[in-house]
């Protein structure tokens, strides 16, 4: 069920050879310093060859199965289902090694790195999830690893910094700009410009210059391929709707890809609306951004009237990004998928709801998908009745978010035991 599509480029949803989605010049492409072009072309070639090489696919699948714990289960959330009136299924990416869909991507890219004979990987990270995943894959494959992380983030996510260090990675705090994720990407690019001959850049989401949006998609699409097969096998139907959260867009494209050609399946992406899309504090890039170029691709960008990037805001670090993968821009533009905002408050309500009713503490990122997915499920239940099925991608677990939750809900003080009556 984790089979990679051995023929990328076969679908009308795929990018063309220049990385354009939809039509040339629309979304995607490769807006980067010339110094990186040859590295990206080398990567593109290696990726195409690898995807056509059964030995690579077999390696990829074995590591995913024995190391990452894939395929992740598809879980019928009965108590949530009762609540909304139709069947709610959760794709349990929270059970993967390192706790999120991200391990799929880094295993693929690290295998590719080894195939290209490079000995060092670099990565950017926001809250640290992709950094931890990259450090993990680097430890597993015995590669040198440097992770760039905004200095603001290294301070507020010291736990993940420690995790990366334990895994043997060097963590470099980035002080420039807003000292957060986007600046970490800039700094990683700078490293790469100088180190490209022996270093691979393990990009953390389905964004960036071609081939990253397509390459990452190929490595994470197992989520959707597995989920589609599991849904058919366990319930004999395709879902009526699927839902995922969208930061850069990797978990979402990972789920969506398998279903793009299933015209009867509604596809929903949920963006972080922070304090609300009518405030300046949000990360709803597709909803509120404008077309532009950021981090190497043309896509929707939160920007001012002169093209300066606007800082995004979300309670979930993984969605706190002012850009989005270009394929999502295209899916929104073409109408194949619908992207809607979910506020911090809605996400945190879903976070608590899932914990209480199903015993699963989701990542706050994933809680956006749960909040939005339940909204969709309620509507679909009214329209189609209890037999309808909504499949939500639970992209990660919430252990990393307990600090935020404690603050948000005021938890952690145990009740005092009184003298028994």
């Amino acid at each position: 069920m984790t089979t990679l599509d051995p023929a990328p480029g076969a679908s009308r949803f795929d990018a063309d050879e220049h990385g354009w989605f939809g039509e040339p010049g629309l979304f995607g492409g490769r807006f980067i310093p010339e110094a990186l072009v040859s590295a990206l072309e080398e990567l593109t070639d290696a990726w195409h060859e690898a995807m056509a090489d059964p030995a690579f696919i077999a390696d990829f699948e074995q590591v995913q199965r024995e190391y990452a714990g894939l395929p992740s289960p598809l879980f019928h959330a009965r108590r949530l289902s009762d609540r909304v009136g139709c069947r709610v299924l959760l794709k349990r990416e929270d059970l993967n090694h390192t706790g999120a869909h991200k391990i799929r991507n880094v295993i693929g890219q690290a295998l590719l790195t080894r195939r290209m004979g490079k000995q060092r990987v670099i990565a950017e990270t926001g809250a640290g999830q992709h950094g931890v995943a990259t450090a993990t894959a680097a430890a597993y494959f015995g590669l040198d690893c440097t992770v760039y992380m905004g200095a603001v983030d290294t301070r507020r996510q010291a736990l993940n910094v420690a995790r990366m260090q334990l895994l043997g990675a060097k963590v470099v705090p980035v002080d420039s700009g807003s000292a957060t994720l986007k600046d970490a990407i800039n700094e990683a690019m700078r490293d790469w410009v100088a180190s490209v001959d022996h270093t691979a850049y393990l990009f953390g989401t389905a964004a960036g210059p071609h081939p990253f949006p397509s390459l990452v998609r190929d490595f994470v699409r197992g989520t959707g391929d597995e989920a589609r097969a599991q849904c058919l096998e366990q319930y004999g139907v395709l879902p009526d709707a699927i839902a995922a959260c969208v930061g850069g867009g990797s978990n979402a494209i990972g789920l969506f890809t398998a279903f793009l050609d299933d015209a009867e399946v509604e596809i929903y992406g949920f963006e972080a609306a922070g304090d609300g899309v009518d405030t300046p504090r949000h990360a709803a890039t597709i909803h509120s951004g404008a077309s532009g170029v950021l981090h190497g691709a043309r896509t929707y960008v939160l920007q001012d009237d002169e093209g300066q990037t606007i800082e995004s805001h979300s309670i979930s670090a993984g969605l706190d990004y002012p850009g989005v993968g270009p394929q999502h821009a295209q899916l929104a533009h073409s109408g194949r998928a619908t992207y809607l905002p979910v506020t911090d408050a809605e996400a945190m309500e879903a976070f608590a709801l899932l914990a209480r009713t199903e015993g699963i503490i989701p990542a706050i990122e994933s809680s956006h998908a749960v909040a939005g997915g339940l909204r969709v499920a309620e509507r679909i239940a009214t329209e189609k009745g209890p037999e309808a099925t909504v499949l939500i991608n639970l992209s990660g677990r919430g252990d990393k978010d307990m600090g935020t939750a404690i603050e948000y809900f005021g938890l952690g003080e145990a009740e005092t035991a009184g003298e028994p009556a």
């Binding site: 492409g29 010339e34 110094a35 986007k182």
Partner: protein, 264 residues
């Protein structure tokens, strides 16, 4: 004034051109105008006016800090154009160095026209390669603006040929694999790269990244048509306690470099 005119002069003088970089609005909006004039006065043949941008992927920490200061001072595209005018009014050549998104968002046609109107010669586009630049190429060609694309040590011969063919004014050779920042010795990647570029074009070849003093400038002037200096100028301003001493620092550096390109 177009870049071609600069190189006519410097070729006539048998030397390389000196191109100095400073972000518009740095150290502040007014000081920026004085700064570029001081650089021209002290010997810069052309000025790269930086458009400060929030996400400067190819800039090192020094240029980043300078551009951030300009952004914090509220620098807008208007101010960039005003800086271009200030350079042009001295008779020196002004090109704008900008990441792509501000141009795209502002409107490529509109940006090109305002640049022309301000007396600018063209654009250096560090994150835009010719194969992804049809709008810019069209807008520039319609106005005879210079299109200064970059080549890098890692570029294939094919891409160097494609890039120089699409360029106008000069070709920008990035001398090291790496981001902007001053270095103590110049890279031995520069000379072969310049040679590879020359094999494909008659355009002048400028070499940038890493130059911080006259000796380095002289070394590069030995094989390149222009020596491009950025971080060292930014550093001179950042290190100065006030505008007058910043201007003195810029002049001293420009004079040293100008002497260098004449020794080369």
């Amino acid at each position: 004034m177009s870049c071609a005119r600069v190189f006519e002069t410097t070729r006539a003088e048998g030397r390389a051109a000196l191109v100095g970089y400073l972000p518009a609005g740095f150290p502040d909006k007014r000081g920026s105008l004085d700064a570029v004039r001081a650089m021209v006065d002290a010997g810069c043949d052309a000025i790269e006016v930086g458009l400060p941008y929030t996400d400067p992927v190819i800039d090192g920490p020094t240029v980043q800090a300078a551009a951030q200061q300009a952004l914090d001072a509220g620098t807008r595209i208007d101010d960039v154009m005003r800086t271009v005018e200030a350079v042009a009014s001295t008779g020196a050549t002004a090109v704008v160095m900008t990441y792509w998104n501000p141009v795209e968002r502002y409107g490529v046609e509109r940006f090109a026209q305002e640049l022309l109107d301000a007396g600018g010669a063209g654009l250096i586009t560090p994150d835009l390669t010719p194969d992804f630049a049809p709008e810019w190429i069209a807008a520039a060609d319609a106005r005879d603006l210079d299109k200064i694309f970059l080549v890098a040590p890692s570029s294939t011969d094919e891409r160097i040929a494609m890039t120089t063919a699409a360029s106008r004014g000069f070709v920008y050779a990035t001398a090291v694999m790496g981001v902007t920042g001053t270095r103590t010795t110049t890279s031995d990647l520069a000379e072969p790269l310049v040679a590879r570029a020359r094999a494909t074009t008659d355009l002048p070849i400028g070499v940038g990244l890493g130059v911080s003093n006259g000796d380095q400038a002289a070394e590069i002037a030995g094989f390149a048509d222009a020596v491009i200096v950025g971080s060292a100028f930014c550093r001179a301003v950042l290190d100065a306690p006030d505008l007058p001493s910043a201007l003195r620092g810029l002049s001293t550096l420009a004079e040293d470099l100008a002497a260098g390109v004449r020794r080369g």
